[in-house]
Amino acid sequence: MTLTGHPVTDVGAAELALLRGVDEARRMRPDDGFAAEMRARFPTEREYDDMLSRKLAHRRSERRGPVGLDDLATALDRFLRHTLDGDFTVSGQRWLAGGASKLQMAFRLTWDDPEQGRTTSDLVVRMEPQEGLNATSRRREFQLLRALAGVVPVPRVYWVDQTGEWFPEPALVYAFAEGVTKPRTVERGRATGVGNPFYPELRRALAPQFVEHLARIHTVDHITADLSAFDVPEVGTTQSALWQLNRARRVWEEDRAEDLPVLEVAASWLERNLPVVDRVSLLHGDYRAGNFMFDEDERRITAWLDVERGYLGDRHRDLAWITMPHFGNHDDEGRLLVSGLVPLDEFYPAYEAASGLTVDPDRLRYYQIFNAYQLVASSLGTAQRVVRLGRSHQDVLLAWLEGVVYSILAELRTSIGGDL
């Protein structure tokens, strides 16, 4: 192939040919060659590689209509008959809201719990849509919740259907978490729970818990926990950052509906500035207001949820995520409150004191830019692809997410600034 008379040996011509080779039709119905090309260009963690490859293979199947409450209840019944030894009854099935990516059905199970004997448990089925905002692993979510049990408040996790053998799609069953995600004073929160305000008394009570729980997660002994679905990056190398960058680049390449040159500048910058990891921590992945439940009367965090983006890597990725302006709001003095709870200037010292770990401003900046990159990749790239495919129960919310992308991209642009 030649472009305006220039041979393909011109790297620029090859790049353009590559871009033209991945067109809209190929992204909508990817062939095996497309998946193989993406895997080769963007090597990442094994489980993520599997999930992204599964996503592409799954995309070739026909669109399925909405999953009804009855469909899910029937699948649950089949699953429980296979999984449980004794008699059981299921009642009270109902949809839960919340989250941009997973279907959630609450139900009540009366059964013989090996840990408690005959009991009635309030549980939740958390199932993937046909294609969602994040191609994440239910097995990893299961393992991560198990690893965090007794460390921070998390719902007890019961079972996982990693391949969608019993449910229409891969699913997890865990305990229903009591509490709320926003104060009673907030009548209508923002979509996804981002940026909801907490009143001062509630802030003062929840803020120390918010910092303490993060410190505990980052200092979990990940060696002895069963985290077999997670790859462990090598300390003293850039492997951790590279895996994450490749994952995000692969997502953008597989899903996007448009080209954004400014995002490519960021990708090149991120590749040239990969940081070395000094310590491997367990990361929550989406640690912010909206992803924890709390008891407003007792002013206590009751459960951390949505750990699907968690991985083993550099704590600065979580720290940079948590402190994104979009996940917070401002107090009366104009200070940014991290997740609406902790003034930014108090957050890092409090974290260092609670965890015994240091905060490196250079790595923090790197991961601020990286987080912006991956948020654009998913909130614009994946969200718009899923909307075009019509594959999620939350397509209209995913379409709505485009509105958040460009201010994040503007922050990314400012963060890189003249450092090229």
Binding site: L3, G12, E15, L16, P261, V262, E264
Partner: protein
């Protein structure tokens, strides 16, 4: 005659009627025990309201984006010739092509320019030359106007932490003429 001129297209009033229907009839009737349905009904209402505001500007936005990427292509032309002669030629051809008139043709023109610029930025990313860094710096600098426009477009959704910092849509789209290539130094 005085007063507003009559219009032939009724899309905007129809969208506004749809918003009213959602807010006054549909949403109050949604089962309160179906939180997902309530959440989505609210988003649908918001999307329709935003469309009612933005539909009249669709053509101006397409023209702005085509002209924006044309301006970026012109600004990187000299450095592009150094980094990739083939892409420089490709971009020059796209810049010179001013045949797009309709909204969809303008969108396609913007997309082709953005694709060629993406190839150029990726090529520059593999190079350590000063020209490569200048290309990145130019794209980064020029993207401010594009991001302003897109932030202004979505301002009614309420995501902005400082809405006052985002320029008005009409104002930012009108800057399209300021970046016409004939006014640039090529």
């Amino acid at each position: 005659m005085s007063g507003p001129a009559p219009v032939l297209d009724h899309t905007v009033p129809a969208l506004r009627a749809a918003v009213t229907a959602m807010n006054e009839i549909v949403i109050p009737a949604v089962d309160p025990e179906h939180p997902l349905a309530r959440e989505q009904a609210t988003i649908v209402s918001g999307l329709l309201a935003m469309l009612a505001e933005r539909v009249p500007h669709l053509h101006a936005r397409a023209a702005f984006e085509a002209e924006h990427f044309r301006g970026v292509a012109v600004a990187v032309a000299d450095d592009a010739a150094e980094v990739s002669p083939s892409l420089a030629g490709e971009l020059a051809a796209l810049v010179d092509d001013r045949s797009a008139v309709t909204t969809s043709a303008l969108e396609e023109s913007a997309a082709r320019l953005a694709q060629a610029l993406t190839a150029l930025v990726r090529t520059a990313g593999r190079s350590d030359t000063p020209a490569a860094r200048r290309i990145e710096a130019t794209v980064l600098d020029r993207s401010g106007a594009l991001l302003d426009a897109r932030r202004a477009w979505f301002l009614p959704q309420g995501w902005e932490t400082d809405a006052a910092a985002v320029p008005a849509l009409e104002s930012v789209l009108s800057t399209v003429h300021a970046s016409r290539p004939e006014e640039e130094t090529r």
